[in-house]
Structure formats: C-alpha cells, structure tokens
C-alpha cells in the first residue's frame, strides 16, 4: 500500500505533499490547542508501539498466510483523529527513511492515503456514528470492521488514482482497481477483526483508557468543513495539474474524443462536468487503448513526453552506450573518492 517515488509524477506527488502538509499543519494547531502536554509523550510512544506491534505476526485462518496490524484505526480510536493523524504521519516518515517503505516524494500520497482516510473519514463518519455508548460485542466488531474496510478501500483507491494520474505505470485504471480493491477488502476485514479484538482486550483490562479518550474528545459534531475544503483543494490541484498534462498531449485528447464519440452513452454524463474532471477522464480513458491499438504507420501514439520513443534507433543505441558509460563514470568517481577518503 505504500507508494514508491518511481511510479509518481512530480505534479501528483507535489499536490499530495501540499495536501498532507496542510493536514499536518491543521492537526498540529489542533493538538497544541486542545490537548494537555500529557498527551505529547503518549503520542510519541504509541507511534513506536505501532512499529513494535507490526513485528508481531498472526496467522490468518484458512489461508495459511500471516498478517500484522496496520494500526491506523486503532490509533484513531485511542487518540482521536487529530493526534492519530500526526502519529500515523510520523510513522510513515520513519518507514520512508529507514525501511524505504514508500518514497520521500510519495510521502504526501502515503500520509494522505493511510492517515487521512482512517482518521478523518472512516473514524468520524462510521466508527463514531455507529458505536454508541459502551456497546462492545458483535455490533462493535461489525462497525470496526466496516470502518477499517472503508478506510483501506479509500486508501487503495487513492493509490490507484495517484498512480494512474502520474502516468508512469501503463496499467489501465480498471485493471488496477480490480487488482487493488479485492485485496484491500480482505486486508480491511482482517484489520478490523484485529483492531476490535485489541480494543476489547484493552477495555476489559483498563476500561478508563478507551472511555477517557472518548470523553475527552469534544462531543460536538465533527467539523466537516476543513475535511471538505481539503478534499476540494486536493481535487483542484490534482485536476488542474493533470488537465495541464492532458492538454499538452494532443494524441491523448484526440483519442479520448474518438472514444467518447464512439460510445455515445458516455458523453451524456460527462458532458456537463467541470473541465478538469473531463480532461482527467480523457487522461484515464486513454490507457485502455494501449492494448487494442494496432501499430500505426504514422507517429507513434506514445506519450508526448516520450522523447526516447520518437527518435530513430541510431540515437537509441547512442543513448544506451552513453548511459552505460555514464553509469560507470559516476561509480568510478565514487570509487576514486572513496579510495582517497580511506587512504587520506
């Protein structure tokens, strides 16, 4: 679920960095004003706890495979959305730096996919709404599973949209969605079961932990405005940047127009939508064509950015020779510097 830099474009990565940074700034302000500083060490130590808990595996019955706790929903249940979002983001920073689990540019995407959806969508809209009082038992398990599944599916959808929007991977949207959603549905169910089990264990042993968190949170209805504003900004950013890409790509537009006119029923729903959305669709609709397109005699229908593909084979060979040589040179410079370093 952690995205890597290699599949991202700077536009998408940058936009998601902006969204994540905004959310972090908002949560930081919230945490500073809301919480007493007793929570400061608690947040830090619970972040470390997520790492520790992820080292403990359990076997999933019937499949022979094993899984571990993701922890996003558990943290949100224990800390409330704002503090939990910061903790999840900090865990992702450490994973990106030390375990190369997700890249640095992809950090924005990962924080958004893995932190925002469980903390600000699944928890307030599903968990808080449906777990009432000190219920416990079957209802709570069901609600926890639903929240975990919703968070993970939204996150997986985010991964798909960000990857396809970046255009480095050639995977068509539909195939990618079909690959990601069933897997994350299963993972979500497991995550929900485990989260519910841990929460109910903690409640039995130390009921005040779960209850106190619930009571110290402001009981006012969850403010949807910042959430919606954030979504809006992210959508605008991504849409705007993508449409700029798409409009700089006449091939893609031609294709999408041909495709849309070929299937008349598609024009009606998309016709009235915002320009950014339709060009996003145009961008997305061009991918399935890769499979069926016959090699044409004219210019290749590759990406407009594909400088490599447009050139003749002569320059390609030169590029390969040069590439190998440059790589050797770079490594040689490193090697020489290293020798000087150790001898000097």
């Amino acid at each position: 679920m952690h995205m890597a830099d290699a599949l991202l474009s700077p536009a998408v990565g940058g936009a998601m960095w902006g969204a994540a940074a905004g959310a972090i700034a908002y949560c930081s302000r919230k945490v500073r004003s809301d919480l007493d500083n007793r929570r400061v060490p608690l947040m830090g130590v619970l972040g470390a706890f997520v790492f520790a808990a992820q080292m403990i595996n359990f076997s999933i019955p019937g499949t022979g495979s094993s899984g571990h706790l993701g922890g996003g929903l558990l943290l949100t249940i224990l800390l409330g959305p704002h503090a939990a979002f910061l903790v999840i983001a900090s865990v992702l920073v450490v994973q990106a730096l030390f375990f190369a689990d997700g890249g640095l540019l992809a950090l924005g995407c990962n924080i958004f996919n893995l932190g925002f959806f469980p903390a600000f969508v699944a928890y307030p809209l599903i968990y808080r709404r449906l777990v009432v009082g000190r219920s416990g038992g079957g209802r709570e398990v069901a609600v926890t599973i639903a929240a975990a599944v919703a968070g993970l599916l939204l996150g997986a959808l985010g991964v798909v949209l960000e990857t396809v929007g970046s255009g480095v991977s050639a995977l068509p949207l539909s195939t990618f969605v079909l690959m990601m959603l069933p897997i994350h549905l299963a993972i979500g169910v497991v995550e929900g079961v485990v989260t519910a089990a841990v929460v109910s264990f903690v409640r039995k042993a130390r009921p005040e932990i779960v209850e106190s968190v619930r009571e110290t949170r402001p009981l006012a209805p969850f403010p949807m405005r910042p959430v919606l504003a954030l979504f809006f900004v992210a959508a605008l950013l991504v849409g705007g940047l993508l449409s700029r890409f798409a409009s700089g790509n006449p091939d893609g537009l031609e294709w999408s127009i041909a495709r849309v006119t070929g299937k008349g029923e598609l024009t009606a729903p998309t016709g009235g939508l915002h320009g950014a959305v339709s060009s996003l669709q145009g961008k997305l609709a061009l991918f399935p064509d890769y499979r069926f397109k016959q090699p044409p005699a004219g210019p290749k229908p590759g990406d407009a950015r594909s400088g490599e593909a447009e050139r003749g084979s002569g320059t390609s060979v030169a590029g390969m020779v040069g590439g190998v040589l440059t790589l050797l040179t770079a490594l040689l410079i490193g090697f020489v510097l290293k020798r000087r370093n150790t001898s000097g």
């Binding site: 089990a197 903690v202 042993a205 020779v321 370093n341």
Partner: protein, 270 residues
C-alpha cells in the same frame, strides 16, 4: 523470526552510520535535505520512457556515499530488498504497452520494457538517495532541518519522540515474539485469539510507560519543545553543497549527458 531481527539490526546500523564524522556528516542537515528533495523531484520529472538521461544522476549518491564513507555493499543490499515491491507494479508495463519503441538490430524493444527499465532506475535513484540522506544526516538531524524549514513544532516533537522509543518498544516486541515462538509448536498459538492479548498487553505497558515518561519530563521542566546540543549553521559549505548539486541536477535535466557521450563514442568507432 530471523527476518524481524535483521530488520531491526539494519535499523540500528543505519542509525549508527549517521554518527560518522566526515565533511558530509558535518554539513547542516538542511543542505542535505534540500539537495535530496530537489534530486528526487528532478529524477521523477522525466517522462515515462526516459532511461539514458537518468543514468548521470547516479553521480550524486555515488559521491555522497564515497565522501561520507558509507558502506556501499550494505546500501546496495537494502536497495535489493526494496526493489521487488516496485517491480511488481512495473512488470505489468510490458504487458500493457506493446508499441515498439526502439530497435536494436533484429531486436524490437516495446515501450513497456523501456518504461519498466525507467521505473527500475527511478526506484534505485530515489530510494538510494533517501537511504544516503538518513545515513549521513541521522533522524534527529532531519527533524531539526524540518523544523527550521517550517514544519509545525508539534509534529517535529512527535517525530523525535517516536524515534526515541522505537528502539525500546521494538526490543520489547522482539522479546515477545521470541517468547511466543518458544511456546508455540508449529502454528499453534499464532492466531488472532492469542495475538490480541499479546498486542493489548504491549499497548497497556506502552501506555503506562508514557505516563512515567511524562512525569519524568515534568520533573525536568518540559515545556513542549526539545533541546539539542549540536548547533548547526548554514554557512559557505552548505550553500556551495546545495547550490552546486542543484546546478548539477538542472544541468542533467536539461542536457542528456549519456546521449552526448554515447554519440561521441559511436562516432569515434565509425
């Protein structure tokens, strides 16, 4: 089991590497964070089919590894460990993108394979530069750089706290896993039924630890911020490092060094 412990050992080893005393280590963390950020953005800004223009970028990690006296073999092993995840998605490119992009004599290479190699190169470069950054700067250094660059303080405090206790709690988890391993024959006792109390107990202990830490911090006058001993300064060396590398990256972005070099070589051979 063995895997958990090697992951943990790698983690501590990367942390130790940051204790080095080379010119690269002594640079203000901000310089390294900025250079790495520009590096990654420039590398991923290339089009889907870029392969040759990416290669010169190996210069940056190679030079920093050398000047920072980092163990290249260890970093390469870490990279190999990470690659399969990216390859899993990248390997689908050749299936969906079958246009012939270039021909080498009788061999026709499809756009999918070209973009696949591009993805491999990108991931080596981006992951490699992140590893190099952490190995020369250390987590605390990076956090300080982030704070000076405007990241909100509660988040920086959170990062520092998290980092401080990862070692303590993961050791505890390793002990727990080992204890369970010794008591469970085959797969017995590894289901969700035993997992929840195990993790729940760890959580409760963590919670109590947080309260003790808080009391200890209050005793020492904690007011919501961390103090560090090492003072950094963004001086001439830092300016040169940042501007120099950013210049190099922009040059590599604009000029296809590999193609020019290759052009010379093939011309000379003819």
């Amino acid at each position: 089991m063995a895997k958990i412990e090697t992951t943990f050992l790698d983690f501590t080893y990367l942390d130790l590497l940051a204790e080095g005393e080379t010119a690269v280590h002594r640079l203000d963390p901000r310089a390294k964070v900025l250079a790495t950020a520009v590096f990654i953005v420039v590398v991923v800004s290339f089009g889907r089919y870029a392969v040759a223009p990416l290669v010169p970028f190996f210069l940056f990690p190679a030079v920093v590894v050398a000047r920072g006296n980092l163990p290249a073999g260890f970093l390469a092993r870490k990279l190999l460990f990470v690659l399969p995840f990216v390859l899993l998605v990248g390997i689908l490119n050749p299936l969906f993108d079958r246009e012939t992009a270039l021909t080498l004599g009788p061999l026709a290479i499809s756009g999918g394979w070209v973009s696949f190699f591009s993805i491999v190169l990108r991931s080596i470069l981006t992951v490699g530069s992140a590893l190099v950054l952490i190995a020369t700067t250390g987590f605390t250094g990076i956090c300080l750089a982030l704070e000076r660059l405007g990241v909100p303080q509660p988040f920086v405090v959170q990062l520092l706290f998290l980092y401080r206790y990862i070692f303590v709690l993961t050791e505890e988890a390793v002990r727990t896993v080992r204890a369970r391993e010794l008591r469970s024959c085959g797969r017995r006792g590894k289901g969700v039924g035993a997992f929840a109390p195990l993790v729940g107990t760890l959580l409760l202990r963590t919670w109590d630890r947080a309260e003790r830490i808080h009391l200890a911090m209050l005793c020492r006058g904690f007011r919501g911020e961390f103090h560090v001993r090492r003072a950094y300064r963004f001086g001439t060396a830092e300016t040169l490092f940042t501007l120099g590398w950013v210049g190099v990256f922009i040059l590599f972005r604009l000029v296809n060094v590999s193609a020019i070099l290759g052009g010379w070589i093939t011309e000379m051979l003819q």
